[in-house]
Structure formats: structure tokens, C-alpha cells
């Protein structure tokens, strides 16, 4: 440790005096506690020792600084690899015929051994997956989203097909919002019919969402679970303050997965996850949604929460080892995504970009499954994931960027 390079006698004297008084101070106090910091006398001794005979080193250091460098100093980089004691649980979404369902495609998420895209130390086994939203009735959507399926919004089955066949959705996220007593109060039975229709229309797995009504959702999800028995759908969602037990029971009985949703609170998230496990769900049947806020509207909380949860899981906290669902289509709630504004430029580009940037951020922070709205976002995020998994061989030259960018 280099300390006190000063070479004036006066200063050395001062240092000596300083150390003496410090030693005395510690001696007197023994163990000293100060604003949560503890210091012990041993520590002080340890620090003082390197002082002895220090003067001899000074010329050497000065010389080093002035030496003229003739050739490049060599240095080797070796990757700073870490290993984590924990692993994120792998969750399989959807079930094929042989597994008791009727899906042609199933999707696996989770299973991480390291933070997202830290592939220098481990390759996480499953790529993040992309779901696209549909609703059980035409709803108000930003025009730049709506225009891609305006003609099929009255028919959830056709809408689902569009998302899968034309836009590449790997999962369809069906939101049964008409069941809300304040909207249409559609009965659970009727809602379940819509679920059946969508299951028949597409061969990818399903996320089945309620309306957000705490009293009604468990009933709606229960009915949906029954008609989709064996399909390993994702029921969205169980909350601390809704009848999560009913949802968990339905998932257990009919082989589905449950989303544990909490509003931005890691402790409540742990609690809910435990409650669901206590209900008899296996770890492979839980996905967590710690709330996705839009870019500019609390995305900072979301990103830190996801990073904390992912790290905690990797460090071995069994209550936080579930994969993370990020409903990044929430970004369309941000007025920057849809509002006309001279100041902000054309909303046709701004809107999808708002969703894309929100998704990129959630993805780098640890999201495993995204719910998206705009086809452009889906395309870009998929390409990005393939790139980050090294599946596309690029032949990109950047050496001459200074001259070759153009005007």
C-alpha cells in the first residue's frame, strides 16, 4: 500500500505524531462503534505496519513514471467468470398431444445459470419468448398498433391467427377483459368458450388473462383452466389479494401455470410465491410478474426489481427462482407512445420504438417472457435475441466508422 509519499521531514514528523495519537485513541477505546461501523485495534496495527521502511520505495516509483516507453506494454485479458449457486427454474409452456394437450409447439423459458446474455460465463439454455396480446372484444388501441389487425378484432380466433401466422407470435396472450363487471360482465362460461375457440385456431401455447377484477378473475380463470385442461396454459394472474387459492387449485387440477403478480414489491413477491407453493403448485408451474412499468413511467423500478429478483434467484433464494413475465405492451400507456406531438416527432415511429426500448430494457434486466403489441417490436426483439445468442453470423466491419458513416 502506498502511503504518504511526502518527503519533507516536517510532514513525516506529522504523520508519526498522527499515528501515535491514533494508536493511543484506539488503545483507549478498545472496540469502538461509530455509526454502524466497527473498528478493532487489530485492524489499526495491520494498517500501520506497511509504513515501516516505506521511504526506500520512493525513488523507484518516481523512476517508473518518467521512463520512456518504447514498445507497447503487453497485457492479457482473462474473462472474469463467476458461478452462481442457484439456477432459475425451467418452465415449459404448452403441452403436445403426447403430453396431454393439443399444442404443436411448446416453449421453454427460464433455466438460467447466469444473468441475461452473460454468455462468456454460461449460456442460458432458453431464449426469452415472445407473446402477443389479443382481447376478447375490440378495444381502444393506439392507431399504429390497431391498424395491423383492425379487421379481425371482433374475432379473437382470427386475431390470434394473425398474431401467430403473420407476425410470429410464439405464444398468444388472450385477455378476457369483457368479463369485467364494468365492461360487459361476460360470464366465466362464455369467456371459456372464447378460450376454446382460440385454442382451436392456433397451435401455440396460450396465456389466459382476466380483466383485473379481483373478485371475478379467479372464477374466469377457473372456468378457462377447465376447458383448456391439460394444455399447460399460463393463468394470468394470482394476486395476494384475490382468491389465488382457487386459481392455484385449478392450475394444479388441469395442468397449467400460474402468474404470480405483485405490484412492485419484492417482499410481497416472495410471499405470494411461497403461498402458491404451499397450495401445492410445483416450482415449474409458477412465473412471476413483478409489474412492468413503461419507459419513462417507472421502468427504473421495474428494471431494478427484475435484476434483484434474478440475482437473488441465482444466488440461491428458492422463493425467487421463477422465470419473469414482463408485460411490456404496457408501454402503449405512455403518452409518448401514442400522442400526436410536433415536439416529439411522428408517433408512427415513436410508438413502436417506445415499446421496443421498454422491452430491451426489461430483457437486459432479466425478463424471460414478453407480452408485446406491435409487430415491428416483435420482429426486432426476435432478431436481437437471435443475435445475442450468436445464432446469426455477422460480417460487420466497424474499423472505418469515422470515414464511412456518410452524412
Amino acid at each position: 500500500m502506498a502511503i504518504f509519499l511526502g518527503d519533507e521531514i516536517e510532514e513525516k514528523e506529522e504523520i508519526k505524531a498522527l499515528m501515535k495519537s491514533l494508536a493511543k485513541f484506539i488503545e483507549k477505546l478498545g472496540d469502538l462503534e461509530l455509526e454502524n461501523v466497527e473498528i478493532r485495534a487489530e485492524e489499526l496495527t495491520f494498517i500501520i505496519q506497511p509504513m515501516v521502511g516505506f521511504t526506500a520505495q520512493i525513488p523507484q516509483i518516481t523512476q517508473k513514471v518518467e521512463k520512456k516507453i518504447e514498445t507497447l506494454l503487453k497485457a492479457e485479458f482473462s474473462p472474469p467468470i463467476e458461478t452462481y449457486p442457484g439456477t432459475i427454474t425451467e418452465v415449459k409452456i404448452g403441452a403436445t398431444r403426447s403430453e396431454g394437450g393439443s399444442r404443436r409447439k411448446v416453449i421453454k423459458i427460464g433455466g438460467e445459470k447466469t444473468m441475461p446474455f452473460y454468455s462468456f460465463e454460461a449460456l442460458n439454455p432458453n431464449k426469452p419468448a415472445i407473446a402477443m396480446d389479443i382481447f376478447d372484444m375490440p378495444i381502444e388501441l393506439a392507431k399504429s398498433v390497431r391498424q395491423h389487425f383492425e379487421d379481425v378484432m371482433h374475432d379473437p380466433a382470427e386475431w390470434a391467427k394473425r398474431q401467430v401466422e403473420d407476425f410470429g407470435a410464439e405464444i398468444v396472450s388472450l385477455n378476457l377483459i369483457s368479463t369485467d363487471p364494468l365492461i360487459k360482465d361476460t360470464s366465466p362460461k362464455e369467456a371459456a368458450k372464447t378460450v376454446e375457440n382460440v385454442l382451436q385456431a392456433v397451435d401455440v401455447p396460450l396465456i389466459i388473462g382476466g380483466s383485473g377484477n379481483k373478485a371475478k378473475d379467479p372464477l374466469v380463470l377457473e372456468a378457462a383452466a377447465e376447458v383448456a385442461s391439460g394444455e399447460r396454459c399460463i393463468l394470468n394472474s394470482a394476486n395476494i389479494d384475490n382468491d389465488y387459492k382457487r386459481i392455484a387449485r385449478a392450475a394444479k387440477q388441469h395442468n397449467h401455470i400460474v402468474v404470480a403478480f405483485t405490484p412492485m414489491d419484492i417482499n410481497n413477491q416472495k410471499k405470494l410465491n411461497r403461498l402458491l407453493l404451499d397450495e401445492g403448485l410445483s416450482k415449474e408451474q409458477i412465473i412471476i410478474d413483478p409489474t412492468t412499468a413503461a419507459l419513462g413511467y417507472g421502468l427504473d423500478y421495474t428494471l431494478s426489481l427484475m435484476e434483484r429478483i434474478k440475482l437473488a434467484g441465482l444466488l440461491g433464494d428458492p422463493d425467487l427462482q421463477m422465470p419473469i413475465l414482463a408485460s411490456t405492451s404496457n408501454s402503449w400507456g405512455a403518452r409518448e407512445a401514442w400522442m400526436k406531438s410536433e415536439e416529439w416527432g411522428p408517433k408512427e415511429y415513436r410508438g413502436p420504438l417506445w415499446e421496443t426500448v421498454t422491452t430491451i430494457t426489461a430483457m437486459m434486466a432479466g425478463g424471460d417472457l414478453f407480452m408485446l403489441s406491435h409487430p415491428a417490436t416483435v420482429r426486432i426483439i426476435k432478431r436481437l435475441i437471435e443475435s445475442l445468442y450468436g445464432e446469426v453470423n455477422a460480417d460487420q466491419r466497424i474499423q472505418d466508422w469515422i470515414t464511412d458513416i456518410g452524412l
Binding site: 503487453k74 472474469p80 413511467y297 420504438l353 421496443t356
Partner: protein, 468 residues
């Protein structure tokens, strides 16, 4: 921090007079504040005395963050980058927001250059009390002509006040710019030292005392070698460009490099890599015949990606506001203090000059929600009362789902604000996103609840329809 800095090791460098000038009872208490970054050595006035000069220097070194803070430019627009201490923002607030530079090429016409500089400097968006701005201009020597480049550098410097990045791999060209471009005393960032040019380049950096970038795409051993060499020469204001590829497996490598550099510096204490990292999302524009809209879109995505993975400086090419806005907003998000809720005080706000017939609105205390609603009401010229509910700093949709926004809190707010005595009617307008609370609020308060628009930009047209 790789080597654990102890309270005593910090204390040792303080004057130890317990004079109290720092506002602490004694030096030990001040040491503990230094240790958790609630104070800087500046806050101890006696340390500035000449006799403590060495001690002060050592103290600064001791508590220096593992990522060096590098200052670019001078004066009021000076940009500080780096200074990071942690990998993840929940561990400790990130310091020094990512600086964003936009490029100017010396092959552009003079009037276009002036125009572009003015445009870049004038970008300014107010958001939750912050002004989002572009921080720097990167002048590229595409002409390969030292005279042209130094002329353009001086033209840019005259056209705007932003700090500059001077880009050329040819030290002769940079020398010309420093000699004749009238920016030599303004500490521009010199871009970039490479395996080929480091000798002449480092002389230049030393002579003009300017920060430098090192460039070695996808080669971290070479980055380390170059930095080790620069350090030995006595250059310490360094920015790392390990290449920011934007495609396929090369993008993967770049993201890995960013992560490895940061981790090596913070977790391993690798001093060669303890510098700010830069990315150049502008490279997406190297693809020929590309739609500008596509390029701007991709560039914004790459800027966001690299900013999420530790980039301290970005050089961009697009000047489209729709593409820059999300990037600037993301920067604002990443660099807010994660331990501090972004909220305003709850309670009653008076907008304009309301009377007993004026409408009463309800919103949450999430700062952005509040400012947006208040601003929309004001700019629409609506005289009204605005009740701000303590939703623990969350936006409407999230807090309704999470229960922080609930009917009994609304009732409490009625009582504490005294709103019932201020208006003669009993009508409350709630946010459209809180529609599902209508019934319960009515039952609990006895007021009629009117569900307002989902976004407050629609308030004016809403009022003309629903408020006689």
C-alpha cells in the same frame, strides 16, 4: 470495491483535529460519511491547507471509485462520465448519466454543419423537472484532410458550446485540429488511440492535456495493453471503445465485452479497465442504401441496449427527435436514485382560480403523473381543485392494481384536505384508469364519481361534455 476501504484507512488521512468545520462532531464521523459517499473531501475545509496536500491526494486516491471519473470539455457544459462503483443500480445510485454525443462530418457543407450544430444544441425536452439534452458533438474527419478538419473543428466550436470529440485515427490530423482548431484548451476527447498510432497519439494527449479514447474492436487484451502503456506514459483520462458491433454474433461479443470490462474493474479491481466505456451506435449507418427511418430506429435500439449494459458515452448519428426521445428518457430512468421514490407531496392543489362550483380531480402522487395532470389542467386553462393521493409514488394503473390507490385513502384525503367545505357540489372526477374504484368510492364518501379520461390530455374535451 475490490480492496476494502476501511473507516480507519480513511480517517488516517484526515486532519484529526475534530474541529467540526465539516458539520460533523469529529473526524471519525466525517470519515464514515466519506466512506458511504455522503460527503467528499471538499467538505473538510482544513484539508485544503498546503500542509495536507499529500494527504488529500492520497485520500482522494483511496476513496476513488473503481471506474475513474473522466471529465470532458470545460466550463458550464463540462461532461463527467464514469465514476461508477457498482454493477447494478439497486446496489448504489449510478453517478454521471451516460453522455450522448451526435456526430458531424467534416465533408458536410459549412452551412449544413452550422445548422446541424445548432439543431443538436437546441434539443431540449423537459421531463419531471429535468431537461433532457444531448451533451456533446463528435466531429468526424471523413475528408482525411488536416486543413479541412481543423477548419471544421473551429467552425463547430464557434457554432455551439458543447464539448467536442475529435475523431480521426491519424495523429497528424488531430494535431492540426489542436493547433489550428481553437479547441486546444477546451479538453476535447481525442478519438482514438490504436495499436498503430499510440506513440504519436499519446504525445499529443500529453502535450495538450486532453482525455483520450482507446479503440481496439473486440480485443480486450489489446485494450488492456494500450491502457497500460498510456498509464505508464502518464495519461490517465481514458475512455474505452472495445467496439460496439450491432449485428449477430458480433453484437453478442460486444455486449459480453462491455459486461466483462465492467466486472473486471469492479469485482476484480483490474486497474487497466477501470475507465468509462463508450459505444458508437452510429455504426448502424455504415450500411448503404438503408432507409433513414430504419437506421434511426435500429440506432436507438442499440443505444438503449448498450446503455443498459454500462455504456458511459454514446456517439450517435440520428438527430431525429422521435428516435432520441426514448434514449434520453431511458437515461433519465436508469440514472434516478433507486432508493428515492419519485413522488410529490400528497394533498390538495389549487389550479387557476377555482370557486365553489369548480370541478374536483383526483390523481396520484407519482411525480410524473402529478406533473402531467397538473400541467394539462393548467395549459387547458381549467380552474379546479386537484386532489393528490398518496399512492406510494406509483402511477394510477399500477397503484389501483396494487391497492395503494384505494377508496379509503380517498376518503381520508377528503377529510385531511377539507375539500368538502370548498365546493358546493359533491362530484369527484377520477382517472379513467381507476374506473373500477367508482362504486366503492361512491359508497364510502357519498359523492358522485365521474370517470375521467384515461389520459389527462383529453381533459378539456371531456369537461365540455360532462361538466355543465
Amino acid at each position: 470495491m475490490p480492496e476494502k476501504v476501511t473507516l480507519l484507512s480513511v480517517y488516517r488521512y484526515l486532519p484529526q483535529t475534530n474541529c467540526g468545520e465539516c458539520g460533523e462532531p469529529n473526524c471519525m464521523a466525517f470519515a464514515s460519511k466519506l466512506l458511504d459517499r455522503r460527503a467528499t473531501p471538499d467538505n473538510c475545509p482544513p484539508l485544503k491547507k498546503p500542509k495536507y496536500k499529500e494527504q488529500l491526494a492520497k485520500l482522494i486516491e483511496l476513496i476513488a471509485p473503481p471506474i475513474k471519473e473522466v471529465k470532458l470539455g470545460v466550463g458550464e457544459n463540462l461532461v463527467k462520465i464514469g465514476g461508477k462503483e457498482v454493477m447494478y443500480r439497486h446496489e448504489l445510485t449510478y453517478h454521471n448519466p451516460t453522455a450522448i454525443a451526435i456526430d458531424v462530418s467534416d465533408t458536410m457543407d459549412d452551412d449544413k454543419i452550422v445548422e446541424r450544430c445548432k439543431k443538436i444544441e437546441s434539443i431540449s425536452i423537459v421531463r419531471i423537472g429535468d431537461t433532457l439534452k444531448v451533451n456533446m458533438i463528435a466531429v468526424r474527419c471523413a475528408s482525411k484532410d488536416p486543413d479541412r478538419f481543423s477548419y471544421v473543428v473551429s467552425l463547430v466550436a464557434r457554432s455551439c458550446n458543447l464539448p467536442l470529440i475529435l475523431c480521426s485515427f491519424d495523429p497528424k490530423i488531430l494535431r492540426a485540429a489542436l493547433e489550428k482548431g481553437q479547441v486546444a484548451n477546451k479538453r476535447p476527447l481525442l478519438y482514438a488511440v490504436t495499436e498503430e498510432n499510440w506513440r504519436e497519439f499519446s504525445e499529443l494527449a500529453k502535450q495538450y492535456d486532453c482525455p483520450v479514447a482507446v479503440f481496439a474492436p473486440n480485443n480486450l487484451s489489446l485494450i488492456k495493453s494500450l491502457i497500460k502503456t498510456l498509464q505508464a506514459i502518464g495519461i490517465h483520462d481514458i475512455v474505452i471503445d472495445a467496439g460496439s458491433y450491432t449485428e449477430g454474433n458480433l453484437l453478442r461479443d460486444s455486449v459480453n465485452n462491455f459486461i466483462m470490462i465492467r466486472r473486471a474493474a469492479i469485482k476484480r479491481g483490474d486497474k487497466d479497465l477501470g475507465y468509462p466505456i463508450m459505444a458508437v451506435p452510429a455504426v448502424v449507418w455504415m450500411v448503404e442504401n438503408q432507409e433513414p427511418v430504419i437506421a434511426s430506429y435500429r440506432e436507438a435500439c442499440m443505444a438503449s441496449l448498450f446503455m443498459n449494459r454500462f455504456a458511459d458515452l454514446l456517439i450517435m448519428h440520428t438527430s431525429e427527435i422521435w428516435a432520441l426521445l426514448p434514449v434520453l428518457t431511458l437515461r433519465q430512468n436508469i440514472y434516478t436514485d433507486p432508493r428515492k421514490p419519485v413522488s410529490v407531496e400528497s394533498g390538495l392543489r389549487v389550479i387557476g382560480k377555482p370557486d365553489e362550483k369548480s370541478p374536483v380531480f383526483l390523481t396520484t402522487n407519482f411525480a410524473l403523473t402529478y406533473f402531467t395532470v397538473a400541467n394539462d389542467l393548467e395549459s387547458a386553462g381549467i380552474n379546479c381543485y386537484l386532489l393528490v393521493l398518496d399512492a406510494e409514488g406509483l402511477a394510477v394503473e399500477v397503484s389501483v392494481a396494487g391497492g395503494q390507490f384505494n377508496p379509503s385513502k380517498v376518503k381520508d384525503l377528503f377529510t385531511s384536505s377539507g375539500i368538502e367545505k370548498m365546493v358546493k357540489h359533491k362530484k369527484l372526477i377520477i382517472p379513467g384508469l381507476a374506473a373500477r374504484l367508482k362504486g366503492e368510492i361512491e359508497d364510502l364518501t357519498g359523492w358522485e364519481v365521474i370517470v375521467g379520461p384515461r389520459d389527462s390530455s383529453q381533459i378539456k374535451s371531456f369537461l365540455t361534455k360532462y361538466w355543465a
